[in-house]
Amino acid sequence: MQSIIERIEKEIAAWAPEVGAEETGIVRATSDGIAEIDGLSAAAMSEMVFFDPTFDRTLVEALKDPNPIYGLVLNLEEDGVRAVILGDSTKIHEGMLVRRLGRPLSIPVGESLVGRVVNALGEPVDGKGPTGAKEVRPIEREAYGVIDRASVNVPLHTGVKAVDAMIPIGRGQRELIIGDRGTGKTSIAIDTIINQKSEPAATRPVCIYVAIGQKESKTAKLAAELDARGAMEYTIIVSAPASAPAALQFLAPFAGATIGEYFMEQGKDALVVYDDLSKQAVAYRQMSLLLRRPPGREAYPGDIFYLHSRLLERAAKLSEERGGGSLTALPIIETQEGDVSAYIPTNVISITDGQIYLEANLFNKGQRPAINVGISVSRVGSAAQTKAMKKVAGKIKLELAQFRELEAFMQFSSDLDVETKKRIDAGRRMTEILNQGRGAPLPFEMEASVIFAATNGYLDSVAPEEVSAVEIKLREYLAREAGGVLTAIRESKEIREESEKALREKLDAFIARTASVA
């Protein structure tokens, strides 16, 4: 008590009236989370303002709820401005005083955010108290230019065999995950985050998961899952749930990018998942319509492409002079009835460096992940693949594409020649090998070893329907019996001659044992 009294007395003694005028505005009207404000003629675009609830109240009333409500200026007009309300809009009323903050919308960033769940303004929402982040950064900034960037050539392992083998992702890349609802888009992103646990701490990326317009129960479940798997140690969740104002849903990805950039500029690697940008586009459309901006195609505003391009351009691999850090982006887009030619999907496809397309048909057939290999691509390609993975996975994509052709043909003909039947069986086996359940990402050396076994004929004697069971046994066997080989592959990132020899010996032994048991 004494310390509080002393502090108050000290503040009173030190207080001097502020000299000079400040620029303010008055709320003319408010509706649907948008405030029309008279005045603020010098306010800048994207500047933060706050609605002062204390101005027209008595001191006693003001002290009951002195917290300001923030707003973001998004329309500069002849007689005033329009701002989106970033809080409880029911507290905003006509005639309310609005003050400028004189800075663009900013959020706190720092190491102390790791392991926390925050909202789009960087405020903690996990009930664990203040984050303690001191540095504040504007959420909108220009992306790094050509000179500051380096080429993407370091892999980011997802732990998903199909992705790491056929659609490799590099650190600093932007890889879109696209598909209908319930096809496993989030699962790939979450597996990727969980898989970073197997990375050495020095090269492990800080992961940022941005939940946009999702159910709070889903985000809570996800946070609990990441916590249980030990992934929250290096993960930050930015949550803008469906119940949050549209403005916060629109801002959340930018907040995620800002946090990621902080780590990138420290020379570290960061991974940011935007789940999903379709909902962000819908929130932005809602805001734009309420701000009376002219609607365009599908009622989206004219700058919807720029909204996503300026966000995704912030993903980068920095040059050595800039510290060599990276920010990898995994945006997610939800399609309707598999229509990738809709407005937002085509926009984001054209911005990103490739896409992982998940198909409902494949999902319903039991393929996990339900990746359509034909139209999935990584434009960074093998530059972001380890030598080991390049060696074992070189022809998988082509073989699978051929298998899909033959599979279609198989439906029309019952009499197939031996060669065709062999190819179909090989394709089915490969499909089974690439099948992988949710929440079970594999370390890269295990992925390489399993795919090595499949592409080098070690599983040819196994019936396609038994491949999954055999693969599980193979993984257990390799973990138990071939620890040295796996370590060598992990450390050298390639399958050298001696490793290959040792791996072949182990695989021969495994096949012999499996055959004898059968």
Binding site: I8, R28, L40, L63, P66
Partner: protein, 123 residues
Amino acid sequence: MIDDYTRLLEATAELEDKAAADAAVTKLILHLKSAGRMKMLPEIARELKKVAARRHALRPFVEVAHRKEEAAALRAASEAGIIARHAVVNYSLIHGWRARSAGKLVDHSAKRALLQIYQKVTL
């Protein structure tokens, strides 16, 4: 077009010459009739009301905590570029004064100071 008419009438209103304002309205009505755009008249009136409300909200306005502070407050506000004829008593200011005009605010009240101290101490 409504904006153009509103701006013209607004400029006329600034003259504070009632006869000139009446003449302007008469001319506008004649013009709208001849152009067959009489339906615009209610919209123009609505726009003018909005302009008047905006002007009212942004007018020079000085508040004092006590009547005895009025003269000093008006003088200080005038030095800050806010010229008002009278000040309104607002006891919630506790002490001092505050003035605002056209989006500018000068706050020399004890209430503001106490709130700032409260926020510093509690944060």
